[in-house]
């Protein structure tokens, strides 16, 4: 491991940028096989008191690291800017290039957030995509950074920072309208479920059953109602359903219906919070006419599928897939920042219909 560090109190963006250039030059001079990664800039805006948690999450994103991470920690009363930079990397044991990653941490005050773009801009690698993640919803800073950002990483499933699912989805929709792309961690938590549902109805043995769905029943972590809404919004947007507003019921259950755009029987939808250690969905059951139902349940090593058909013996099988965990979801978010998902927008709009 080759590593170099720099730190300075009461510093400036220009001095941080100069320090980064010098650290990179030093590393490269030490070993010319060390070259800087050039994937994307990740700007993280976090509350100072939660710094440790955010740093831990960033360190565990797995294989999908950004190349330059700029962590801005905000202390309300701070007036000066402190800077810290680290450049590190390994030379491959098999020879070839070693990739250097750059981490910058800037301690800021609340007074700086409205003009944070002027602090960050000189530190960005200008030709790379820039992703902004504000896990503690420092919206003023995010707004200031929008002109620099290509992608906003958001977690609409975070109950602490949104005033209900409607507000979370509205915030995502607002950002989507500001000419940036959105990578929503709540949406990423539904990937396996979407893939498996899509796969189920691609089987010729279930041909035609998609049109006859009558009920969607989603179980979710207490804090993950938005993931549940996005999954159902995705079904609605793909299948031409028009959802109605949610109605609360006992035990935290929420219900809604969806009308088919082309007419026909409506679809009953129910969201049920369940005790689950990890965030995201716990299960989905789609039911249709003629006694058909397909249930997917989270289980060790993937999902358990259970199918019921009229007059047939119920079947059960395992759908394989290792859980990514929350760190893996963040890593997937970084990866998704390099690609575009055109299905999220319509799913988000449909999900918002539940809360209007």
């Amino acid at each position: 491991m080759s590593e170099a560090r720099w730190a300075e109190s009461d510093t400036s963006p220009e001095r941080i940028e100069a320090a980064l250039r010098e650290l990179l030059r030093e590393r490269h001079a030490e070993n010319d096989a060390l070259v800087p990664a050039r994937v994307l800039n990740l700007i993280v805006i976090a509350d100072r008191e939660w710094r440790g948690e955010v740093v831990n999450r960033l360190e565990r994103v797995g294989r999908y690291h950004p190349s330059r991470t700029i962590l801005c920690t905000i202390e309300d009363d701070r007036r000066t800017i402190d800077g810290y930079a680290r450049v590190s990397g390994d030379v491959s044991a098999t020879g070839g290039v070693g990739v250097l990653r750059e981490s910058v941490e800037i301690a800021l005050g609340a007074v700086h957030t409205g003009r944070i773009d002027t602090i960050i801009d000189p530190i960005l690698i200008s030709e790379l995509p820039t992703v902004v993640w504000s896990p503690h919803n420092r919206d003023e800073a995010v707004e200031a950074l929008l002109p620099l950002a290509d992608v906003i990483l958001i977690d609409t499933d975070d109950p602490v920072f949104f005033d209900g699912p409607g507000a979370a989805l509205a915030r995502a929709a607002d950002l989507l309208e500001s000419n940036v792309d959105i990578v929503d961690l709540a949406w990423l938590r539904t990937i396996a479920w979407r893939e498996r549902l899509a796969g189920s109805f691609s089987d010729p043995a279930r041909a035609g059953l998609l049109d006859g769905l009558r009920r969607i029943y989603v179980r979710h972590h207490h804090g993950s109602i938005v993931s549940a809404l996005l999954l159902t919004g995705w079904l609605a947007s793909r299948l031409g359903w028009l959802p109605t507003a949610l109605e609360p019921a006992a035990g935290g259950v929420r219900r809604a219906t969806a009308a088919r755009a082309g007419g026909g029987a409506s679809i009953g939808i129910e969201f049920h919070p369940v005790a689950q250690a990890i965030r995201g969905l716990a299960g989905v059951t789609v039911s249709g006419s003629a006694g058909f139902s397909l249930s997917l349940e989270r289980a060790p090593g993937g999902l358990i599928a259970r199918e019921q058909r009229a007059g047939a013996t119920p079947r059960e099988w395992q759908l394989f897939g290792a859980s990514r965990g929350e760190d893996g979801i963040l890593g997937e978010g970084v990866r998704q920042a390099l690609i575009r998902d055109h299905v999220y927008g319509p799913a988000l709009q449909a999900a918002r219909s539940f809360s209007q």
């Binding site: 070259v35 800087p36 990664a37 050039r38 994937v39 294989r63 999908y64 690291h65 190349s67 098999t94 020879g95 070839g96 290039v97 990739v99 396996a192 979407r194 893939e195 498996r196 549902l197 899509a198 796969g199 189920s200 109805f201 691609s202 089987d203 010729p204 043995a205 041909a207 998609l210 079904l235 793909r238 299948l239 289980a299 060790p300 090593g301 993937g302 599928a305 047939a312 079947r315 099988w317 395992q318 759908l319 394989f320 897939g321 290792a322 990866r335 390099l338 690609i339 998902d341 055109h342 299905v343």
Partner: protein, 513 residues
């Protein structure tokens, strides 16, 4: 024998739109040679990794077929050991246990009719038990002499088609050892399987960098305008290995470098580099273009071979500071072996785009270092304005695509040396995959296994492509086989190859390894 259009259901499913990972029909994979090296090192770990990532279809069953007698449990234990040992990631116990529960084993000799009866019963039981007809993949991970035996028995047992699902057969290289045997092998396979059912694997095509060759050419306006005889002086394709033949003498003595690397991997690289842009990135359109460019390479007449092909064997030498024995001293190699461990070729593509541009190919074992690259050298600038010795540094531009050890693209440019004089020096503009995509690429086999499950043959070799490849190689093999007298040139182990190969270059130089 025509593949059913069972994938049509995917198109009519609106939920599929926008998914990064498209659904795959439930599948039974039958691996012939399930206890072999390829299955242990690549196939079983590859299937596990697909399961880990959620890439396998809703229902998956794997039947191992081999001669050894063993129970399902013993096969699962063996598969678990292979996956634990060779998987690119540490297996998740819950995924692995669940997956292994879907593995079973059928023992038998490949030429035994009874084996195929048992196999048919096992597949039928799976369909009935799972309540859905599974697509079937027969993966021939065996020595090539068994390909016709297995496909013939599959056909005779009626296992080459079903009414409700697709049946595919995967054939590993080598496809023949010359044109006649390749044709015979293709004919034998195609007696019972339609070409659309046959997936001939060259795992090289599953590598990200090889696919990136197409992205580089067809997703960038920068290169295509100069990608022709007007601007390109020559192309060098190098596949150098620092290792020897190891324990593969039995195979290598009968194959040699020409068959082992040139006939498949290197000519595939040439075809992708030189083909016309396909109208769509679709299996047959892409392969049509590859075949066209391969057919434009005129096979040499017997008397032309000596002037366009050089073969050699490694002798004693120093590799990585240690003494290394010569090829003929390797265990299992005949003392008078004439098998080549090094080949260099000069080929011309006789079409409008490439007429007159030499394509130089070289590959060898026990060379100075491991390197696979394509070097495209442009013509010199038509007029050098920088007069006198200051112009010495003006070199033709080169576009280098490196596949190993790093995946990279570099372009050499002439740049001014800082100072008061106008001195020019070549500098490199480099793009390293590892720095721009910090993600881990899937193993080539994972990608290719999934493509077979999807029925996407884009990265597989079509029968006419196989024959076009052999048509180029066959005359060289024939000429070398006839010449039993001329001594085989020798190059020191750890060197860049024999000096005899320099004569192919028309006054140019091989790129330094």
């Amino acid at each position: 024998m025509v593949a059913l259009d069972v994938e049509a259901g995917l198109d009519s499913n609106p939920l599929v739109t926008g998914l990064e990972r498209q659904p795959v029909r439930s599948t039974a994979v039958v691996i012939f040679g399930a206890m072999g090296d390829l299955a242990s090192r690549k196939l079983l770990p590859g299937i596990y990794n697909l399961a880990h990532e959620g890439g396998l279809p809703e229902r998956i069953a794997l039947i191992g077929v081999s001669r050894s007698s063993m129970t399902d449990e013993e096969f699962r234990a063996s598969a678990r050991e292979s996956i634990d040992r060779f998987s690119r990631r540490r297996p998740d116990p819950d995924v692995l246990e669940g997956l292994l529960a879907n593995f079973s084993y059928v023992a038998g000799s490949f030429d035994d009719d009874g084996l195929y009866v048992r196999l048919r019963d096992a597949l039928g039981t799976l369909d009935t038990g799972l309540g859905t007809p599974l697509n079937r993949i027969f993966y021939l991970s065996t020595a090539p002499e068994f390909f016709p035996v297995i496909t013939g028995h599959l056909g005779a047992a009626g296992l080459n088609e079903t009414d409700e699902a697709d049946v595919r057969v995967v054939v590993e290289k080598p496809i023949g050892y010359d044109l006649a045997s390749a044709r015979a092998q293709n004919d034998a396979v195609l007696e019972y399987f339609d070409e659309s059912q046959v997936f001939r694997i060259d795992h090289y095509l599953g590598k990200e960098t090889v696919q990136n060759l197409m992205a580089l050419r067809f997703a960038n306006a920068l290169f295509e305008p100069v990608w022709n005889r007007n601007f390109i002086d020559n192309v060098q394709i190098t596949a150098a290995e620092d290792i020897g033949i190891g324990t593969r003498a039995g195979y290598y003595e009968g194959a040699g470098a020409l068959r082992d690397l040139v006939q498949n991997h290197m000519l595939q690289l040439l075809a992708l580099l030189a083909m016309e842009p396909p109208t769509a990135f679709e299996a047959n359109r892409l392969r049509d273009e590859k075949v066209k460019v391969l057919e434009a390479i005129a096979p040499p007449a017997p008397e032309e071979v000596a002037a366009m092909a050089v073969r050699a064997q490694y002798g004693e030498g120093i590799v990585a500071g240690a003494e290394s024995v010569g090829y003929r001293e390797e265990p299992g190699v005949a003392e008078d072996s004439r098998t080549e461990t090094y080949v260099a070729l000069r080929l011309f593509i006789n079409n409008w785009r490439w007429a007159g541009v030499p394509f130089y190919l070289r590959t060898g074992k026990r060379m100075a270092r491991k390197l696979t690259e394509i070097a495209v050298t442009l013509r010199p600038v038509p007029h050098i304005a920088f007069q006198g010795p200051d112009s010495d540094g003006v070199q033709p531009n080169q576009i280098i695509l490196t596949l190993q050890p790093d995946e990279a693209v570099s372009v050499s440019l002439g740049a001014k040396v800082p100072g008061t004089k106008m001195q020019i020096r070549p500098v490199n503009m480099e793009f390293h995959y590892g720095t721009s995509f910090l993600s881990e690429s899937p193993e080539a086999y994972e990608r290719l296994i999934l493509d077979v499950m999807r029925g996407d043959a884009t990265l597989f070799t079509r029968n006419d492509e196989v024959e076009a490849l052999w048509r180029i190689i066959d005359p060289i093999l024939a000429a070398w086989a006839q010449d039993t007298e001329t001594p085989i040139p020798e190059y020191p182990a750890g060197s860049a190859g024999p000096s005899e190969a320099d004569a192919l270059l028309d006054g140019r130089s091989w790129r330094r390894l």
